[in-house]
Symmetry: D2
Subunit: 410 residues, 4 copies
């Protein structure tokens, strides 16, 4: 058992008992989420590129957690408009382009080409009405990794060392409002849903406000113009979203849920100006820029009433960037504690790193719990510590989970 | 008195009684802070440009809260090295380039030139060892504002309407650790300090960790190579920072404070590789990219143990962007409450907007307080409500404070 | 008959009697030619875009005769290598993005998208081993046309006015060396040839040097690595080119022709460094940048012993840009004279424009001819003048020929 | 005496006896000339950078002969307008960033910074009303030189080898029209002239048309708006140019010279639209893009009636790029022959290179002369050959002349 695991009680109102709770999720097609998605996709592709040439587990230094989306210009029309000016997507960050291994073998990696391909593939997969080749211009300025950081990966050691003095946070379980916000966006952006309701663009923002026992979902969704012939069809598409969100709600809460769709619209408008209409399903085509790390946290949500890290998780290297790894791990451990130990009503975890220290041995793993009434900390402390310890023991699994797409980063 | 002001007690451990507290500040020369600083500086310049042509108070729509810094390449050397490849700075966002007023007068604003000038001026003022003209390339892709958003500003009304359904948060007073972290960075980046100790670069990151009554400050500071002739001078410069931080601490806390400087260094190294040495005072010259909204919150700090908004405050328009205005206002109101009402030990404020609603009339102004022992909420409630109400009443002052540089945004 | 047509005798050695003659053609895949091809392709696409929306013949002002190709980086290998960094292609120039017609109807043209599509289509058609989506990044900075130039097209008139005081030149017939150089490149870049010999890349430069009755063809051709497994296959591919060029020569000349292929190679080299090997068939993938107007003149050749205009013909608008139209027309008229009037051994034409003057009425159409022995100018003068006059009469046909791809520009 | 020097008589009408002659010069502030000037300036700076670190004469491989200028946007006004959007200047080409010498010493050159500085310095020196820092954005994409070319410089040899199979051309003396066109532009762009007449911008195009004994100069000059208060002052400024050009003409010709200034103007216009008015003195601020090698040839002129090379001379490396060196040398030798041998009325020179051959030993130095009546070739042949031979003998001087700014390239 690691000796830097601390468990204590959390003296704080249980999340469901707060009078007001706010939760937000920026859907997969929000410009900030697109940036996150591309950043992570590029990192995964670089990892695979390095492993393919250097052998499994040999991932060279990189951080591709900077993607700037500059909005294009478009002319959405009922029945189908056009993109006029493509969306600019700038990939930046660091990576190793050239490498000489211990045997003197030289490697020249096609880093820029791989990065651009990863970005395009992600867009094709996720923003289905975007014509990636004509609606976007993707430029890669991923720089050459600086020497000192690269060395971290050279050290022969089972466990990588922390790249920085930093921290990650996690909590569990999700509150009803959090669960509902997340599930609503995931429903609307599921393949089944968009197949059935193709007018639904991927640029969906769900804001949940809980005032005591009343939850208000304010949903903003860019409709895809070619599937919306006129204002009536637009209103019908909004009505579908409202209905489906209302239908979904009881699975997550017994509270009263009210749903609003595209409240910024001016429904008296005869032309497109009054409606949230898009050609491609994302407002990046016209109005909105995006960048990495400004939207959802590693658990997929923005939760001002909860502990949050400002670290951008997407795009960081999954090997020794504790700002990434500890946020993912803290969320996972918290979820496991909440799931496996019924006495725990709410758990917060903070993992603190120290630069140079092995990542499986943080400076502190600080955990706070709210327990069910009548339950005592000493009854569950050992179980909690064990879950944390095992989580740290297996921390290097996270890299492969991330690369395989099995770890959420935004 | 507005009827949407809610005050209740906060059931939560007082910040100073938490066992662990983490606080971080990215100094003015950190690449993320540079992005913030430029974004805000550009917005201010655009406001002044619009007012100069259209009359006081006439600020056209813009949001310049997207600045991508792509690191350059440099060769720091003891005694003075060189920048090899300039830092790329991409300004994006939206703004009004062309405008026809109600009398049909056409305006063509030199928006790009004004934006670039603002960015350069900010850099010259704040990153003093950066040769802005040769060490940076600043490109402006600020797009043409989309029609529907622009209209918000056209409406004849004393009070602008909210641009979105969003929220802002604030809290007060700062904890000892928070105050110390902020003060340390501000000291090191003060004109007096850098005059006395010119080796101190602006890229300073201060991380404060309080474990019960022990505070650890981990400070990362890029030294300016031309003022550091050799490893000995480097070590001496670090020793100065340590000493000054230790000297400062007692003004903010009686707790035990330990200070670490540049813990990532390898002090056995003979050449520059082992030290955090820079040519310009910022790691943007070589290793680190930056973007807006990924660092300090509107109060200047990153505080995972406190309520935080993910909104990027810098660069947003100060007229109706509630994501900006409400974060600034919430912090101000919280500070005023904490200062004027001694019974309040800790106050959290959340201001909720609704798109289209006048900004002085939020959907809710929700306030929670921890009171001094023996104090009752009803004794202070009216005073608190009054401060909030007045804050909302004068909300439009914030725009001019921001433009004049009197409101912190990062 | 126009009164500004001047015909005189040319007192100069007949081209075939010069002791030395130099002729060069940069093939379709040379970076300069790629720039030309894209520039022209973009102009054609804009013409069609304008006509589609505004009606046939309604072409708005544009000049897209600036395309900068910045070479990428690649790793050619016998058997197939890879592109590491894509080729950057910057489209610049001017065009009309927004237009209000006489009835007040507003048009917002998707100019950037159309331009990028045209560039990509041209590349896909012409550089067949280039993976356009991953091996290139195409950025469009085509600006908004300036007001005064645009007006030229607004004037109601059958005949557009010259955009500038300029000139075009043409000559005919092609000399043997010129014909051979042109035919050689066209053979090697024909679909049939590359189908049969797929190793032949499109980046072919043919330089013809005639010293009295000896012609030396120095041909530089980037081989496509995936069709060349080893140095032997490379040498065999070169041998094919030599043989085919030698086989072609007698169709154009009875002179002695010697052919050299890739004289810069180091054929003793074991690895790729010694050979002109490419992944994509063009050296733009690695070594060579390109821009418009630096290669072939409007007749497809570089001929220092002949009159030449420096004007870049590709990408200029075909309606009133006399720098383009007069070069094409002069070449056409010269060719027609040479073909129809057997007494003319050699003809040079220079068409001078004056800004604002109708394009069918140049300031001067100056023609000089070398006649067959015994022939007198007065015998052919009228016929020559008639051909020139008819050419000017039908000058507006050139625009549609250009757009339809029936007029060579490089 | 080299055995590849050939001298023969030129059977061609003497230039002054041609019925029509056209000559053009794009002044220093024309966008194409700006590109040329920057390209050459960058090459010079790189040469100095390499020599400073590696020792005199040690110039590493580079070619910076690609500069793309994308016009900005401006709002010229009588009395002084403003630039709205800066001019984009893209530096491309190749150069050596990193180098290991024979002793294993590593060099990392600040190539990008040096290139950008050179470009800015050139602009400040030459386009005096341009605010370089705010009216331009200069981006550097100069790539890493490819290995095989670099090796050329590595070979230990007194005389570099030709980089390509290419040629250069030159002729002398300048005709009256050529001399006049060149002198007119040089006068108008002289420091004395612009000091006296500050309204004269650097963007001057002089087109000379000689029809028998009548010369028409059509001069296009962008006026600097802040020195022109109204249409009357504009007309006065044009009148000055006309007068000064007329005053200059008799120094170069006894022919009748007529001068036209800014014939594209609409002098009835009340506002700026009708006039060639600029904020900065160059049309690159608004309408016109530019690139290298599209304007003046190495002797400063565009002369369709003369032999011309298409090679862009500016920016190419001065050590072994025969496309540059041979054009400069051919012009110099021709001038020397014309000056020193009075019997030579006109001389044309063509220098042919062969890849890999020492540059002082071209494949052929072919010279043709028109002699004064009564003079015989054998009387002057030896003198001509001697001048050519000496020119080739001292060919390596050209590199240092170029770097020192003593050799015209455009």
């Amino acid at each position: 058992m690691r000796d830097n695991i601390f468990v204590s009680e959390l003296n704080q109102t249980y999340i469901e008992d707060l009078e007001i709770e706010i939760v937000e999720r920026k859907g997969i097609g929000h410009p900030d989420s697109i940036s996150d998605g591309i950043a992570q996709s590029v990192s995964n592709a670089l990892c695979k590129m390095y492993e393919e040439k250097l052998g499994e587990g040999n991932i060279l230094h990189h951080n591709t957690d900077e993607v700037q989306i500059t909005a294009g210009d478009s002319d959405p029309k009922f029945g189908g408009g056009s993109v006029r000016k493509p969306i600019d997507i700038l990939l930046t960050g660091r990576g190793i382009h050239d490498y000489v291994d211990e045997n003197g073998v030289e490697y020249h990696f096609p880093l820029e080409r791989v990065a651009i391909k990863a970005a395009k593939d992600w867009l094709k997969e996720n923003i289905v009405n975007l014509d990636v080749e004509l609606d976007t211009v993707i430029e890669c300025k991923i720089g050459r990794g600086s020497g000192d950081l690269v060395n971290v990966f050279d050290r022969e050691s089972a466990i990588p060392s922390s790249n920085d003095t930093s921290f990650g946070v996690g909590f569990a379980p999700l509150s009803e409002t959090e669960s509902l916000v997340l599930a609503t966006e995931e429903l609307f952006n599921s393949k089944e849903f968009t197949k059935k309701y193709p007018a639904t663009g991927e640029d969906i923002k769900v804001m949940g406000l809980r005032e005591k026992d009343k939850i208000t979902l304010t949903i903003c969704c860019g409709m895809v113009d070619k599937y919306v012939k006129n204002p009536e069809e637009y209103k019908a598409a909004c009505a579908v979203l409202k209905e489906e969100a209302e239908k979904l709600a009881p699975k997550y809460t017994n509270r009263d849920v009210e749903v609003f769709i595209n409240t910024g619209d001016n429904l008296d408008s005869d032309d497109e100006a009054g409606y949230f209409l898009t050609v491609t399903g994302t407002s990046a085509e016209m109005g909105d820029d995006g960048s990495v790390g400004r939207g959802n946290r590693a658990n997929g949500l923005i939760t001002p009433c909860r502990p949050m890290s400002m670290e951008a998780t997407s795009g960081k290297n999954p090997v020794n960037h504790v700002g990434k790894i500890y946020n993912i791990l803290a969320s996972r451990i918290a979820a496991e504690i909440a799931e496996k130990i019924p006495e725990v009503k709410q758990v917060h975890i903070m993992l603190l790193s120290q630069i140079g220290r092995p990542i499986d041995n943080p400076k502190a793993a600080s955990t706070q719990v709210i327990l069910e009434d009548g339950c005592k900390l000493e009854d569950v402390k050992a179980d909690i510590e064990k879950i944390i310890d095992e989580g740290l023991e297996n921390i290097t699994d996270i890299a492969q989970d991330v690369i395989a797409g099995n770890a959420r980063t935004f």
